[in-house]
C-alpha cells in the first residue's frame, strides 16, 4: 500500500522549478497595511508548485502564497505529534502517505483512543477542493487545518496550548521567523504553513492521465479503458456527473454535496446528516462532499463512514441505486451494468493511482 512515487517523467526535486517572483505577490500592499492588526504573511522565497499531467495549477490565497519556508514548516508540523495533547497524534496519523493520505480505517482514532463517526478523507488534491471536510464546514485549507488540532476526539490540543508548546520548542521559533518574519508562532501561522504544505500534496500523471491527456493509448489496460468509457457514459455509469473529467485536467470531484443514502441506520434513517449540519437546508440532509478518486486504490475503506471495504463493493452500491431516502440525489439510479462492466469500472479506478512528489513524504 505504500505509494511509491515514480519520478521518471518528473524532475527529481522542485528546486530548479522554483519561480522567484519576490515581493510583488507576498508583500502586503499599502492598503492592507493600513488595516489593523496586520495579517500574518509569508516572507520567504515564493515557489510555484509543479503540476503533474492531468491537474490544473494550484491556487493559493493572496495572503498565503506558498514559499520554500512555509511549505517546509508546514511539512514539519504535519508530521509532528507535538500538535496533539499527549504527543501521540499528528496530521499524518490519519492522513498518512502509507494509505494515500488517509489511515486505512473506517473511522479515525484520535488522542486517548477516541473515535469519530466519519472516515478520514484524503489530503491528496485537497488543494483543489473549494471547501474542506465531508460537510464542507471549512472554506479553505487554512481554516481546515485548525479544526483537528483542537477537536477533542482528534488531537485535543486547544489552539493557545498548541502555540505555547511551539513557542517553547527548541526548533520551531526560528522556523516560524524564517517563514513569517519576526514574531512568535500564532495559530494563524500554524494553519497557513500546514495549508501551504498540503497544497504540495498532489497526485497526477497516473496511467489514466497519460492515456487521457498525454496521448499514450497504451497507458490503460483494455479493461481500464472500457471502464473509463463506462465511467463517462451517461447511459452506463454516469460517474462523471459528479466525479468530473474536464478537457485539460481531471479533479474527479464537482466539489459539491450529494446524498447517496450511505450511512442509514438499521431503521432506515440517515445516521449522519452531513451537509445539513452546516446549512440547515432540508435537501442537504445526508449529503456529503464528492471526494476525489485520485489514488482511490490506496484509500480503502470508502464513503464518508468508511462502510465500503473494497472498490467492487462501491461499484455494487452504485449499481444498486444507492439507498432510498427522501433526499436521495436525483442522479443516483440503478445502473444496468454487466458483471464485466463492473469489473472494468474497478480496473479504471485502479488506474487513477498517480505520482506523489517524494518531497511530501516523511523523511
Amino acid at each position: 500500500m505504500e505509494p511509491t512515487p515514480r519520478t521518471s517523467s518528473q524532475p527529481a526535486a522542485w528546486a530548479p522549478l522554483f519561480v522567484i517572483v519576490l515581493s510583488a505577490v507576498s508583500c502586503s500592499s499599502p492598503k492592507e497595511a493600513a488595516k489593523a492588526p496586520p495579517p500574518a504573511g509569508p516572507v520567504g522565497t515564493p515557489i510555484e508548485i509543479p503540476v503533474p499531467l492531468g491537474l490544473p495549477p494550484v491556487a493559493a490565497p493572496a495572503n498565503n502564497k506558498p514559499t520554500v519556508e512555509t511549505v517546509a514548516l508546514g511539512k514539519k508540523l504535519y508530521y509532528d505529534t507535538k500538535l496533539s495533547a499527549d504527543d501521540t497524534v499528528s496530521c499524518a496519523s490519519c492522513h498518512g502517505p502509507a494509505h494515500g493520505f488517509t489511515d486505512g480505517s473506517p473511522v479515525s482514532t484520535g488522542v486517548g483512543g477516541k473515535q469519530g463517526g466519519r472516515s478520514a478523507p484524503t489530503v491528496l488534491n485537497a488543494a483543489y477542493s473549494p471547501v474542506q471536510f465531508w460537510d464542507g464546514r471549512a472554506a479553505s485549507l487554512e481554516e481546515q487545518a485548525g479544526g483537528p488540532i483542537a477537536n477533542p476526539i482528534e488531537m485535543n490540543l486547544p489552539h493557545e496550548a498548541a502555540v505555547r508548546k511551539l513557542n517553547a520548542d527548541g526548533e520551531y521559533p526560528k522556523l516560524f521567523e524564517k517563514a513569517f518574519g519576526p514574531g512568535p508562532a500564532t495559530i494563524e501561522k500554524v494553519q497557513m504553513a500546514i495549508a501551504s504544505f498540503e497544497r504540495t500534496v498532489i497526485s497526477g500523471n497516473s496511467p489514466f492521465d497519460r492515456y487521457q491527456f498525454g496521448g499514450d493509448k497504451k497507458a490503460l489496460s483494455p479493461a481500464a479503458a472500457r471502464g473509463l468509457a463506462i465511467f463517462k457514459d451517461a447511459a452506463k455509469g454516469n460517474c462523471v456527473k459528479c466525479h468530473t473529467i474536464d478537457d485539460k485536467y481531471a479533479l474527479f470531484s464537482d466539489g459539491k454535496f450529494h446524498n447517496l443514502g450511505v450511512g442509514m441506520n438499521a431503521e432506515g434513517e440517515l445516521a449522519d446528516l452531513g451537509r445539513y449540519t452546516q446549512t440547515k437546508v432540508e435537501a442537504d440532509k445526508g449529503a456529503f462532499r464528492t471526494p476525489t478518486l485520485r489514488n482511490i486504490a490506496q484509500t480503502a475503506p470508502y464513503m464518508h463512514d468508511g462502510s465500503a471495504k473494497t472498490l467492487r463493493r462501491v461499484v455494487d452500491f452504485y449499481v444498486g441505486g444507492g439507498n432510498s431516502n427522501p433526499q436521495l440525489d436525483k442522479d443516483i439510479k440503478k445502473l444496468e451494468l454487466s458483471g464485466r462492466e463492473r469489473e472494468d469500472l474497478v480496473a479504471f479506478l485502479e488506474s487513477l493511482t498517480g505520482e506523489i512528489p517524494k518531497e511530501v513524504l516523511s523523511q
Binding site: 443514502g261 438499521a266 462502510s307 465500503a308 463493493r313 444498486g320 439507498n323 458483471g339
Partner: protein, 258 residues
C-alpha cells in the same frame, strides 16, 4: 420612536396568547390517542384450516441462471444456480404458494407479532423466496454472503424502498403497514434474485411447504372465509369455507402447469 415600545408590548402579548395553545392541544392528544382494541381468539372455539397445494401437468424444466454479474456468486454455485419460480415437490405438490385469509376477518384487529420475520441474502438468493408478514410486524434483512447485496421491494401500496447491504453488517429493520399481496422483491445488484412478500393485517397466512406442499392456518375463530392461494407463475385461486367452532377444515388447491 414612541411607537416602538407599544409594538413590543403587543408582540409580547400575542406571544403569551399563542403560547398556551399548543399546551392545551397536547393534553387531548395524549388522552385521546386511539386505543386499539385487539381481538382475542377464544381458544375454546378456535378452529383451523389446513390443506395442501397440488400440482397438475408437466413439471417444468428449471432454467439455469446466468450469474456472471458477480464472480463471487458464480463461485458459490460451481454446479450452476437454477431458477426457483416453480418448485414442484417430489410428491407432486407445489411449494412456495402463499395461502391466506382474504375475507372474513373484517372488523377484527389483530395485534402485530413482535417476532421478526427474517429474510436472508444467502448464496446469492433470497431465503425464503416466498413468505408472509403481518402488517406492523418487524422484518429483519440479513446478508450472510461475502458480497454486497441490495434489497428492493417494489411495493405499490406500501412505501417502496431500496437498500444495499454489505457483508457482516447488522440486520436492516423494516415494516410494512398496509395489506399488499404480493410485494415483488428484487436485488438491483444481482438481477436474478427474487422474493415475494405477502403483507396482511392478521396472522392467518402460510406458505405451502417444501417438501410436502402442506399449509396450516391455526387458531382461526369460527366464521365464513375466503381463502386465497397465490403463486408467482400460476396466479391466484380462491375458495369459500365455513369454519365451525373448534372445526378443522380441509382446503386443497391445485395449480396446473403447461
Amino acid at each position: 420612536m414612541k411607537r416602538l415600545p407599544f409594538v413590543f408590548v403587543t408582540l409580547v402579548f400575542s406571544g403569551c396568547n399563542s403560547a398556551p395553545k399548543p399546551e392545551k392541544a397536547k393534553v387531548p392528544v395524549s388522552t385521546t390517542a386511539p386505543k386499539v382494541e385487539y381481538f382475542h381468539v377464544d381458544a375454546a372455539t378456535a378452529g383451523a384450516v389446513h390443506g395442501r397445494v397440488s400440482f397438475a401437468g408437466k413439471k417444468p424444466v428449471r432454467k439455469k441462471i446466468d450469474v456472471s454479474e458477480d464472480p463471487m456468486c458464480a463461485k458459490m454455485h460451481a454446479a450452476g444456480l437454477y431458477d426457483e419460480s416453480v418448485v414442484v415437490n417430489p410428491n407432486g405438490t407445489l411449494a412456495n404458494v402463499f395461502v391466506y385469509v382474504k375475507q372474513g376477518l373484517e372488523g377484527k384487529t389483530f395485534e402485530p407479532s413482535k417476532e421478526p420475520v427474517v429474510i436472508d441474502q444467502k448464496g446469492c438468493r433470497f431465503a425464503p423466496r416466498v413468505f408472509g408478514i403481518q402488517t406492523g410486524q418487524p422484518l429483519n434483512v440479513v446478508n450472510s454472503d461475502p458480497v454486497t447485496h441490495n434489497i428492493h421491494p417494489l411495493a405499490q401500496v406500501n412505501r417502496a424502498w431500496n437498500q444495499s447491504q454489505d457483508p457482516q453488517t447488522e440486520p436492516l429493520k423494516r415494516r410494512f403497514l398496509q395489506r399488499e399481496v404480493m410485494i415483488r422483491v428484487k436485488c438491483n445488484i444481482h438481477s436474478w434474485m427474487r422474493a415475494w412478500i405477502g403483507a396482511v393485517e392478521h396472522p392467518y397466512f402460510a406458505v405451502s411447504a417444501q417438501p410436502d406442499g402442506s399449509f396450516e392456518l391455526p387458531n382461526l375463530p369460527p366464521g365464513d372465509y375466503t381463502i386465497e392461494a397465490w403463486h408467482e407463475v400460476y396466479g391466484v385461486q380462491e375458495q369459500k369455507i365455513t369454519v365451525k367452532p373448534s372445526g378443522k377444515e380441509d382446503v386443497s388447491f391445485t395449480f396446473k402447469g403447461e
